[in-house]
Amino acid sequence: MASNSAEQVVRDFVARVKPEAPALELDTPLYADGVGLDSLEAAELSATLEDELGSDPFTSDEMPQTLRDILAFYAEVAVEA
């Protein structure tokens, strides 16, 4: 459930911030040659995820590189809960 919500939050965010980005696949890089988020946009995504879902994958040891990483973080949070 959390993963579905997380996916929607990320997709809505990318659609607003990077409307020109290529279609977002699970393994599309979030930065540089992929979606192209810069550090401030990544910071914004981090705050958005925390507000919407109560936890933030960007606070984990490894910064998420793809949508799949973000979904994995929330899947793990759901298991721990």
Binding site: L40, A43, E44, S46, A47, T48, D51, D56, F58, T59
Partner: protein, 450 residues
């Protein structure tokens, strides 16, 4: 303080000194209360005491009595009992004057014990040499501090205030705030009338303005923003104010414009003051910021200013003597204000408090400039910009918005993003939340990071 009451009471004893929806008290009656309290203070050998009371008349009488006797009085905020207990301990107050039964102190006196009763012949001994007063800071950045003043210094600038018996000033500040004290000094120095609604919020302030004949009102920009929003929401008549004064926070240009449009007959002025250095006078040209002429004050001026590394410094001969419990300071020395400014042409513009700077990945962002833009967006009643902790950049710019009643928040959010699109990337709000109200301390927006 008491000398101001004595002067007006001598000229026109029945003139209204303080008006509320429930009561009117004249100058002579108020002075009699103060003289009685002064007699009690002298008679009991009281040297310092705290007051917890939101009613203006007893508070003014107690202030005047303290000023007459040399006892140090400190007005507390209208806080919960636990907070009052902390303040009593922090500031070593063993005696508190209050009508509240939920406050516990080694000694508690009800205001009427000192203020009421048959009036004995007025004692009028010479003023004591030292007439201490203590004002608490709002404590937005830590525990409150006790700012030590002296009545003689505080009253120094009131000699220039012209008599204006017909003016009715709204009390929109807490009496425990330094700005509240400034209003009292101005009102009683000019022989005017204080209109003191309770509580001192924009809604009650607007009602008092409309119903109690207020002609002059001084408040923070945040208070004025909320008052304008209240007025638009209730659709009631626009009062015909003669004077609008703003102070306590940097004043956004769009707010000045809004006030000018709403109150076309009112003169609009700004005051720059703080608990520590007192008032520096007022600007009446209706423009944001201060005239750069303030930087050219003569060496013997009561107040002088200079800019040091982007921060405004003040030297005031009406300012504080130090903080309670700390070593005394050199009272007439230059002091940093904590206000960051920029000199643009003939104007000193305020960028914000040094404590409010948002550090976004090493880039320093001033919240006021962003707030000003956001507040100008249609449908935004109040905006608050602050730093929000973030694992990527340390902080990001976060924004809380109080929307106008019935406004479309999605449309507002889109308009805010457009309004901020040309700001440097670090300064654009990265987090926007719609809220019913924003954190306030003393009618000022709290912008500390979290």
């Amino acid at each position: 303080m008491i000398e101001l009451l004595r002067r007006v009471a001598g000229e026109d004893p029945g003139r209204a000194a303080i008006v509320t929806h429930e009561h009117t008290i004249g100058y002579a009656e108020l002075l009699a209360c103060a003289e009685r309290a002064a007699r009690e203070i002298r008679g009991q050998g009281v040297t310092r005491f705290a007051v917890v009371d939101h009613e203006a008349a007893p508070v003014v009488a107690l202030l005047a009595a303290a000023a007459a006797t040399g006892a140090q009085v400190c007005l507390y905020p209208p806080a919960e009992p636990a907070e009052i207990a902390e303040l009593l301990q922090r500031f070593d107050h063993g005696l508190v004057v209050t009508p509240r039964d939920d406050i516990h102190a080694p000694r508690r006196v009800r205001p009427e014990e000192w203020l009421d009763g048959d009036l004995d012949p007025v004692e009028d001994p010479a003023h004591p040499t030292a007439r201490p007063h203590m004002v608490l800071t709002t404590g937005t950045t830590g525990a409150p501090r006790g700012v030590l003043h002296d009545w003689t210094r505080l009253l120094r600038s009131t000699g220039r205030i012209a008599p204006e018996p017909g003016h009715r000033w709204l009390l929109a500040y807490g009496l425990h705030q330094f700005a509240g004290l400034q209003i009292l000094l101005h009102v009683f120095a000019s022989g005017a009338t204080l209109v003191a609604p309770a509580p001192r919020r924009p809604r009650e302030g607007l009602r008092a303005i409309r119903e109690l004949g207020v002609t002059h009102a001084s408040a923070t920009p945040t208070f004025w923003r909320f008052l304008l929003a209240e007025m638009r929401a209730d659709g009631g008549p626009v009062p015909r104010l003669q004077q609008i004064t703003l102070g306590g926070e940097a004043i956004p240009g769009p707010l000045l414009e809004d006030l000018r449009r709403t109150f076309p007959d009112a003169r609009i002025s700004q005051v720059y003051a703080a608990s520590e250095f007192g008032s520096t006078g007022s600007m009446r040209d209706g423009r944001s910021g201060l005239s750069a002429e303030v930087l050219d004050a003569a060496d013997d001026a009561d107040v002088a200013m200079k800019i040091v590394d982007g921060e405004l410094w003040v030297r005031s001969r009406t300012g504080m003597l130090g903080y309670y419990g700390e070593p005394p300071i050199e009272p007439d020395a230059w002091r940093p204000t904590g206000d960051l400014v920029e000199l643009q042409g003939d104007r000193i513009l305020f960028l914000g408090r040094s404590s409010e700077i948002i550090n976004v990945g090493g880039v320093k962002v001033h919240p006021l400039l962003i707030e000003e833009r956001v507040a100008a967006v249609d449908g935004v009643d109040v905006a608050r910009v602050y730093g929000r902790a973030n694992p990527m950049t340390g902080q990001i710019v976060a924004l809380e918005v109080v929307p106008a009643p019935g406004a479309d928040t999605a449309a507002i959010e889109s308009a805010i993003r457009s309004a901020c699109a040309d700001l440097p990337s670090a300064a654009r709000p990265r987090n926007i939340r719609f809220v019913e109200t924003v954190d306030l301390a003393g009618s000022k927006i709290v912008r500390r990071s979290r």
